[in-house]
């Protein structure tokens, strides 16, 4: 019951945060001087195409861009009725992309799901890699296992993502025949989901997952190692060893469980950086996620498109953080009450 109440409380704060974030996003995307439609209208008038001007004017009316900024925001979110009545983000109307001349929902369509898939794969990768390596590095601390993993960890933190992407593509292609670029073979694009398409996506996911996850995995690994080392020095570990417990069983039964808490909590800190990483990596690797679209939208001042993508990316991290908080409470009842206070 307490858990349910906490989840609801956590959900509430997430919604509030999201509203604040939406204000922030709206301000940021309106920061550049000028806007797309005014530029277009000026350009069309200069070349004497009145038909285009009429359309641009129509769009401006349609999306309430002729109103003051705070009203534009409220219409965009769907808090007050626009020319079409209530039709904002919360009603599911994502707006119009001026650059592509299509609804935003149509442009982002599939890419939204692929973004979720890529980031999920990266999170899973972080856990799969960091857990055994961190435990091993702590259990065999100050041996070559520890030093090797620390070295790889540092390298993972220091190497720019896009460099890693290029190197992995290059050698992956040469030795393992891993396909370069994209998230699926071009023939599957726009096709219904089949087993073959799934397999193609899987193969294409290998390199992006490693690239996005490496920095996070090395940070996580170092954290876990430090936590484990703290626990390993405690008397109960000595007692367990003295009583003749096998090292592997002892490790997993006692210290790991305690060291595991920060491990789950950390995903909340890692997620924002991983999502940012995925945006950058997608641009370099030509993945069909929202990253490249965001870049073009920002460069062309495509208001609604970039606004929605920024909101979506924020939502993704906020949901991830919320899930990790709730998982943490499930794992450790002590945190429930502390968490609410601070």
């Amino acid at each position: 019951m307490a858990l349910l109440r906490y989840s609801i409380y956590r959900f509430g704060t997430m919604i509030l945060t999201l509203v604040v974030v939406s204000v922030l996003v709206f301000v940021i995307i309106n920061l550049p001087p000028g806007d797309y439609l005014s530029n277009q209208i000026a350009e069309l008038q200069a070349s004497g195409q009145s038909a285009g001007v009429a359309k641009a004017e129509f769009l401006r009316k349609e999306y309430a861009l002729d109103r003051p900024l705070y009203q534009q925001y409220l219409v965009w979110m769907g808090f007050i009725p626009g020319p079409q009545g209530f039709s904002g983000l919360i009603q599911g109307d994502l707006g119009w992309s001026f650059e592509f001349d299509r609804p935003v929902a149509e442009i982002v369509g599939d890419t939204v799901w692929l973004t979720v898939v890529v980031n999920l794969a990266a999170v899973v990768f972080v856990y799969i890699v960091a857990l055994p390596l961190g435990v091993l590095a702590a259990a065999r601390s100050r041996t070559w296992v520890d030093y090797t993993s620390a070295f790889i960890g540092y390298l993972g933190l220091a190497t720019p993502n896009f460099l890693l992407a290029l190197i992995l593509y290059y050698y992956g292609r040469q030795y393992l025949n891993i396909p370069i670029g994209g998230l699926m073979d071009p023939i599957y694009e726009g096709m219904p989901l089949t087993w073959e398409k799934l397999k193609s996506v899987g193969v294409h996911l290998i390199v992006p997952t490693i690239v996005i996850g490496t920095a996070g995995a090395s940070a996580m690994m170092q954290r876990l190692r430090a936590n484990m080392l703290d626990e390993l020095g405690k008397p109960y570990v000595e007692t367990a060893v003295a009583k003749g417990m096998s090292p592997a069983r002892m490790l997993t039964k006692y210290p790991l469980r305690v060291a595991f808490n920060p491990f789950v909590a950390d995903i909340g800190n890692l997620l924002p950086s991983m999502v940012s990483g995925s945006v950058l990596v997608s641009v370099v690797m030509g993945l069909q996620t929202i990253g490249p679209t965001l870049l073009t939208a920002l460069k062309t001042q495509d208001l609604f498109l970039s606004g929605f993508i920024l909101m979506f990316v924020a939502l993704l991290t906020l949901i991830g953080t919320m899930i990790s908080d709730i998982l943490l409470v499930l794992l450790d009842p002590r945190i429930r009450y502390e968490g609410r206070e601070t």
């Binding site: 945060t17 924002p272 924020a314």
Partner: protein, 384 residues
């Protein structure tokens, strides 16, 4: 040294328990804090080496123009994509000092690439303290003397040249001026904001604490890069490179402060109740003085260590922004701008040296990480 019958060794000098206690501790107890920190830091070899390396790098920045043989945007249209040239010392077994062989570009009609052939019969010694492209020493003194330059009519591309025939080695030196200072400016901004807001939140508590805390939470839960992208997309494209550079560093700093502010706030919460703070308050010290004189010095060193650890993120951030074309732009030279050329696999495959700017990035970021780790470990000198 005498050996007892049971085989143990005993020192002959007379033993004075009082003296040995005092001697051992006196030196350490009287030493100022920074000396203790330095002593401990010295044992952290990796951190020490990294610190020295970074010091050399930063000291080199004002003299980049002097060390670089070419100007930052000096083009050599006969040598586009020239591979790195080696500096030799021995010609046909005879020592004649550092020299290079002149290279000539020949077109390969099969692949349509330029192939650079070195004329190995004609050694040309390097010139030292010679005249070359004009530059400004430390941005102030105009000069055209270079540490070393290519001999007349010969090129000297230590790390190759890029698609416009510009020397990559020289450009890396010039690029360091921007890439390395971005982190410093950014961290100053984030330090200022973090300490200001963190101490206000921690010291005064109450409603203002709640507000600042929410802001911190929101900013920390957002992915940085899209926000960086959005903010730097707002920078007008007609600004001068220097202005763009400053605004980019400020943007990097503005989104970095929440982590620092949180650390400051946590420290303040625990230190606020200490007796010496109470004493200062009762003696009538205003809050500003209590914060600056009594609270901040307590954990300043800790903050510096964590700041060192967040500089690499800023350097990587600048690189990523410039790499995507939203950070610094063309006439400015930074490592990220240079990597813009190495964006696709084809150019790395054919001209691997265009990716050389990766090297300084990785090395500098690693060095900052090691330095930060070393500082953090040695900051509490009384802890054993």
């Amino acid at each position: 040294m005498t050996q007892l019958p049971d085989g143990r060794y005993v020192d002959d000098a007379p033993y004075d328990p009082q003296a040995s206690i005092q001697q051992l501790e006196r030196r350490d107890l009287d030493a100022p804090n920074w000396l203790l920190v330095w002593r401990k830091f010295k044992t952290h070899k990796l951190g020490l080496i990294s610190g020295l390396f970074l010091l050399v790098c930063y000291l080199m920045l004002p003299f980049a123009g002097f060390i670089a043989p070419y100007g930052a945007n000096e083009r050599n249209s006969d040598h586009l994509y020239s591979p790195p040239q080696a500096v030799h010392w021995f010609h046909e077994g005879v020592f004649i000092g550092p020299f290079v062989y002149p290279t000539v570009a020949e077109a390969d009609l099969e692949t349509f690439q330029w192939i650079f052939v070195a004329d190995e019969t004609d050694p040309r010694p390097l010139e030292f303290f010679c005249e070359g492209a004009r530059y400004k020493l430390a941005g102030l003194i105009e000069s055209d003397t270079h540490l070393f330059c290519p001999p007349e009519g010969v090129t000297l591309f230590l790390w190759g040249s890029d698609r416009l025939g510009r020397d990559i080695f020289s450009r890396i030196l010039y690029g360091a001026q921007l890439s390395l200072t971005v982190g410093l400016i950014g961290i100053s901004v984030s330090f200022f904001l973090g300490i200001l807001l963190g101490s206000i939140a921690g010291y005064f508590g109450g409603r203002i604490d709640w507000v600042i805390n929410r802001v911190i939470e929101i900013l920390r839960s957002l992915p940085e890069l899209p926000l960086w992208l959005a903010l730097s997309a707002a920078v007008p494209s007609n600004w001068t490179p220097v202005a763009v550079f400053f605004i980019i560093s400020v943007i990097l700093g503005i989104l970095d402060w929440p982590g620092l502010a949180r650390a400051v706030r946590a420290k303040f919460l625990s230190l606020r109740e200490e007796e010496y703070v109470r004493a200062a308050e009762m003696m009538g010290a205003p809050s500003g003085r209590v914060i600056r004189k009594h609270l901040l010095p307590n954990f300043m060193s800790h903050l510096i260590a964590s700041a060192t650890l967040s500089i690499p993120a800023m350097i990587l951030g600048e690189t990523a922004l410039s790499f995507l074309g939203l950070g610094l732009r063309a006439p400015a030279v930074s490592w990220g701008v240079m990597l813009n050329d190495a964006q696709n696999l084809a150019s790395i495959e054919i001209y691997p040296w265009t990716a050389i700017p990766m090297l300084p990035i990785v090395v500098v970021v690693l060095a900052f990480n090691f330095l930060g780790d070393g500082l953090r470990d040695s900051l509490d000198p009384y802890q054993q």
